[in-house]
């Protein structure tokens, strides 16, 4: 036991767990805003108004068509230069996850709302509900249920994406690992533990999602 705790595998753990906190913080806060952005842009993509549809489409296509690393550097260095500000690293990280996930969530929202049978809107309107009321009480609850599996999937993707923030020296897990093994010369042990910590979160999440998915199927 003593030997295990003192092994080169366990020694980086305090640093890695500190990194994990940042990883989770950026993921949860980023996805919260990402969902807000995604919901707005998703409805934009369903809009009959050409301007709203066009703007939300441009956003989705730009984000989906460029690499996340470039987006991160653009936000942290590019925007700081443009606006002549000193952006906090953590703010840049959360903003990057929110904007990036927002585009993918927009497509999830669009697809889910679109998949609700057209007859539901007609039934809602036919009893006299407005379009907004029908959306709120009838379409959205059904669509939201269908969004849960892909949203969970997006959670796993965004969680892993936070590792890219090591490029701007945000103290998440991979960055913590890099600074640690730079002095101890134990990259194999350290990175093994990093992967293990990711898997401890991602695998149960995936299993849980699969269960939800099966339950929603029936």
């Amino acid at each position: 036991m003593e030997a295990l705790l003192n092994s080169d595998y366990m020694k980086p753990m305090p640093y890695l767990l500190e990194g994990l906190l940042y990883t989770l913080l950026i993921t949860f806060v980023g996805l919260f805003f990402g969902f807000v952005i995604g919901a707005i842009m998703g409805f934009g993509r369903l809009s009959k108004n050409k301007l709203i549809y066009g703007l939300s489409s441009i956003y989705v296509e730009i984000i989906r068509g460029t690499p996340l690393l470039a987006q991160i550097l653009f936000i942290y260095f590019g925007l700081s230069q443009l606006l002549d500000i000193n952006m906090h690293k953590l703010v840049a990280a959360i903003l990057a996850i929110a904007l990036n996930a927002g585009a993918y969530i927009a497509e999830i929202v669009r697809g889910a709302v679109h998949s609700v049978d057209k007859g539901q809107m007609e039934a809602g309107r036919s009893i006299g509900l407005t379009k907004t009321q029908t959306m709120r009480y009838i379409i959205w609850p059904q669509a939201f249920k269908r969004m849960i599996p892909p949203l969970g999937n997006q959670f796993v993707i965004s969680l892993k994406d936070t590792s890219l923030f090591s490029a701007i020296a945000v103290g998440e897990m991979v960055y913590q690992a890099k600074t640690y093994y730079a002095t101890t010369f134990t990259p194999f042990e350290t990175l093994s533990m990093v992967c293990l910590l990711y898997l401890v979160i991602t695998i149960p999440t995936s299993l849980y999602l699969r269960r939800i998915e099966r339950r929603l199927d029936v």
Binding site: D117, G119, Q120, E122, G124, S126, I127, G128, Q133, I138
Partner: protein, 240 residues
């Protein structure tokens, strides 16, 4: 109750309704029959603006639906609609399906709305199904819930769009029975149907539609026993 004047409806270049004129009196049960593609469902859907009217007028209860200033939601709440595929809300119980409209539109309290809904469920013979989800109902039961849902708004007119077409044959009877009871109570009804028996027995008047116009109209006896139009004759010879 309903006046339709020179109603036209086009989808893009395709003209589906080519000038419909109809007058539906209070407490009248009008059945609309005709081959598929004749425009009868589109005609019905224009009566509560589920389809935008291209030109012409639809006047319900003195209000002109084609007037751009009209509050269409308020009209729709007075015009009940029953769909071929029921369109119940699958995420709500039967009771919630029925009370949603009264609660959100008539601003009734939950208990008020539920108290009003129970007699409706009894009327359609489904008192024991209040707390189940639509999933567990048969097609016929679903359609009866859909009728109760429409009735909960206390409509002045009920529109039925092929209400029994998606049902197994043995389930059609229950739905038609509920509709027949409604007719007896004096509900104004417009029914697009393939049930010629229902049209004959319950309808006060039958409209035969083909190619986007009303080809012939009259009492069920006139239409079924002594059709004048050759189209009507050939249609009836195929379905009867």
């Amino acid at each position: 109750m309903i006046q339709v004047k020179d109603l036209h409806k086009s989808f893009g270049k395709l003209e589906v309704l080519k000038g419909i004129n109809a007058n539906i009196e209070e407490k009248e049960v009008v059945c609309v029959i005709g081959p598929s593609g004749s425009g009868k469902s589109t005609f019905l859907r224009c009566l509560n603006l589920l389809e935008e009217v291209t030109s012409g007028e639809v006047i319900i209860d003195g209000e002109n639906l084609t007037d751009p200033k009209i509050d269409i939601n308020s009209i729709r709440s007075r015009v009940g609609m029953v769909f071929q595929h029921f369109n119940l809300f699958p995420h709500m119980t039967v009771l919630d399906n029925i009370t949603l409209g009264p609660r959100k539109i008539k601003k009734m309290s939950k208990s008020e709305a539920e108290a009003a809904a129970l007699p409706l469920l009894e009327k359609v013979g489904l008192s024991d199904k209040a707390s189940v989800y639509p999933d567990s109902l048969s097609g016929g039961q679903k359609q009866r819930v859909a009728i109760a849902r429409a009735l909960a708004m206390e409509p002045k007119v009920m529109l039925f769009d092929e209400p029994t077409s998606a049902l197994d044959p043995e389930l059609v009877g229950d739905v038609l029975e509920v509709m027949q009871d409604l007719a007896k109570e004096g509900m104004t009804m417009v029914v697009v149907t393939h049930e010629m028996g229902f049209a004959k027995e319950v309808g006060n008047r039958v409209l035969f539609m083909d190619e986007g116009i009303v080809m012939e109209e009259g009492s069920p006896q006139q239409i079924f026993d002594n059709p004048q139009n050759s189209r009507t004759q050939s249609f009836l010879s195929k379905v009867l």
